[in-house]
């Protein structure tokens, strides 16, 4: 585990802690709101929710600039909001509206926006692990001071794409950071059932890639590790793998009743809720103020999404080709 979170929290200045907390809170409340709207039939499709993992998206994206890029997964809402997709734009996309970040063509599993440095999320497990090397390669060939980050789950490390991607990134010393969100379960399957190596970080050694295990419930710990990895990538030192130990508080998708894990295990992780871990260092008035701000932002986002027009059916075949 990384250095003690509380100590880091004390070191971080109040403004930073507030800002990180607000971003995590926005994701948490966004997800809760979206879930309700989904049950009420306002939002179509399916949902893979991010509650519990907020510290990873926010901690990593805080170490990036707008010019840096991320790839995401089938669980992209948190990544999108953390990288700078507005709540309005993300919400409208979930509603299938023309004003959404993908014009309604992406939906929940493909949230993204090149304007903020985020590819449409790739919902094939491991899919981002090869594509991110191309982002890094372009940055390297153009000698741009940019970094490409790939978010993926521990489940992706059993895909061939993970192994081809990390090896190529290492061999070419690409400005890439590989962020594994190890939330213990690939859908319902526990990682220990499908890998004899307990830590994903161990796998990086096979490719000569430095790796760190990070407390994924502590945004300051994630941020500190990400800043080191990003700095190394920018300096031309090649990729780093960060294994963020985390937990999704919800089921895998909307229909998952979580019968494969115990309520005791869930309670243990809930006690380490990233909002509690960081929130402990903020006073109640500040937290209340941020709650109100986030509520206002989400009320506005929902209103915007509801009021936005649907795409024209004729748009369905547009943008297949450039």
């Amino acid at each position: 585990m990384h250095a003690d979170g509380t100590k880091l929290a004390e070191q971080a200045d109040g403004g930073l802690r507030e800002s990180l907390y607000r971003r995590m809170l926005l994701i948490r409340r966004f997800e809760e709101r979206v879930y309700r709207l989904f049950l009420e039939g306002e939002i179509p499709g399916t949902l893979h929710q991010y509650q519990g993992q907020e510290a990873v998206a926010v901690g990593v994206c805080d170490a990036l600039t707008r010019d840096d890029w991320i790839t995401s997964t089938h669980r992209p809402h948190g990544h999108a909001l953390a990288k700078g997709v507005s709540a309005r734009s993300a919400m409208a996309e979930l509603y299938g509206k023309r004003t959404g970040c993908c014009g309604g063509k992406g939906g929940s599993m493909h949230l993204g926006d090149p304007d903020v440095g985020m590819l449409p999320a790739i919902a094939i497990v491991g899919g981002g692990n090869t594509v991110v090397t191309g982002l890094g390669l372009a940055m390297k060939l153009r000698r741009r001071d940019q970094v490409a980050v790939c978010f993926f789950g521990e489940g992706a490390t059993n895909e061939g794409a993970f192994h081809e991607g990390i090896n190529f990134a290492a061999v070419e010393r690409l400005p890439v950071v590989l962020v594994c969100e190890n939330n213990l379960y690939g859908a319902s399957t526990r990682y220990s059932r499908v890998a004899l190596v307990p830590d994903v970080a161990e796998r990086a050694k096979a490719y000569g890639v430095p790796a760190r295990i990070v407390d994924g419930m502590d945004v300051l710990a994630v941020r500190a590790a990400a800043r080191d990895a990003v700095a190394a990538a920018r300096a031309g030192a090649g990729p780093t793998l960060l294994e963020c130990k985390t937990y999704r508080f919800t089921g895998h998708s909307r229909s998952d009743a979580r019968g494969y894990r115990t309520r005791e295990e869930e309670a243990r992780w809930a006690a380490r809720d990233p909002l509690l871990v960081l929130g402990a260092s903020l006073n109640e008035a500040t937290r209340g103020h941020l709650e109100a701000e986030v509520k206002g932002e989400l009320d506005d986002a929902v209103e915007f999404a509801r009021d936005s027009p649907f795409p024209e059916p004729g748009d369905a075949t547009a943008s297949v080709y450039a």
């Binding site: 449409p120 594509v131 090397t133 794409a161 943008s319 450039a322």
Partner: protein
Amino acid sequence: MPEAVAAARRLTIGEALREAIAEEMRRDPDVFLLGEDIGVEGGFGGAFGVYLGLVEEFGHERIIDTPISEKVIAGAAVGAAVLGMRPVADVQYADFLFECMDELVNQAAKLRYMSGGKIRVPMVMRAPVGATTRGAQHGQCPESYFVHVPGLKVVAPSDAYHAKGILKSAIRDDNPVLVFEHKLLYGSKGREAAGGLDLTAEVPAEEYLVPIGKAVIKRPGADVTLVATHVSLYRSLAAADLLARDGIECEVIDPLTLLPLDGETIFGSVRRTGRLVVVHEDSLTGGWGAEIAARAADECLSYLEGPIKRVASKDAPAPAAPVLEQAVLPQVADIVAAVREAVA
């Protein structure tokens, strides 16, 4: 072929492709190459020598030798293309494209659409096809799998002039383009398996482009339309020679692009001749010939005077033994027989 070619030379397809790549790399610093064994000193210049000599001019930064990792070759091409580079990636044998179906079908073809049209994926993937007594896993013609994918473009040049011009167009295209080349057509000597053909063609020294999406009438004829690519195109031309002796005039069309198909040229011809035979080395069932046949039935039915015929490899993997391989592949005699049925 253009008229008044000032300094026409005869080039092989391999030489023509190399020229296309070199010209585009000189013209645009964003063009770079990605593949296995393509820039190694003392190496092969790619599996079929197309890249020989390029690394000396362009260096290893722009000619990147990858691990044997087709998923990352295609995925890296996708990612680099998203950021505006123009990667020309290749796999040594088209059979290996199945290693990177996710990157091609789920990523390259769909990222633009999923983004609501905000991004472009201007990449090229070259892939050599064709049975050459290497057996079932180094001899497939998998064009049809990709013709089925909206978001991709698929081209299949069969001579040096068109190969050079269409590869240059593919590199400049803002979409993912798969370029299928036939292994027996690279060389100059006219290998026996390709029918001992002279495979060189006149290629002008000055720059030109061949558009994607435009078919070429290789031989005009009034009685039957023959659509074919690669080795099957040359066998169709040979069949047309034989049939002409009996007074059957074939219009032989090289579609050049399989996606998007040039319906105007192909079905315009079918409306004139009233008869259609499609020939390809890919196996019969679900091959791209079925798409052309279906569209002809849909768009030209009242013009048709005979059954639409497809000549293709038999529905079997490519066998290694030459005698078996030839039994699977479409032969000149098969094409002649199909045309006779079409005009009967």
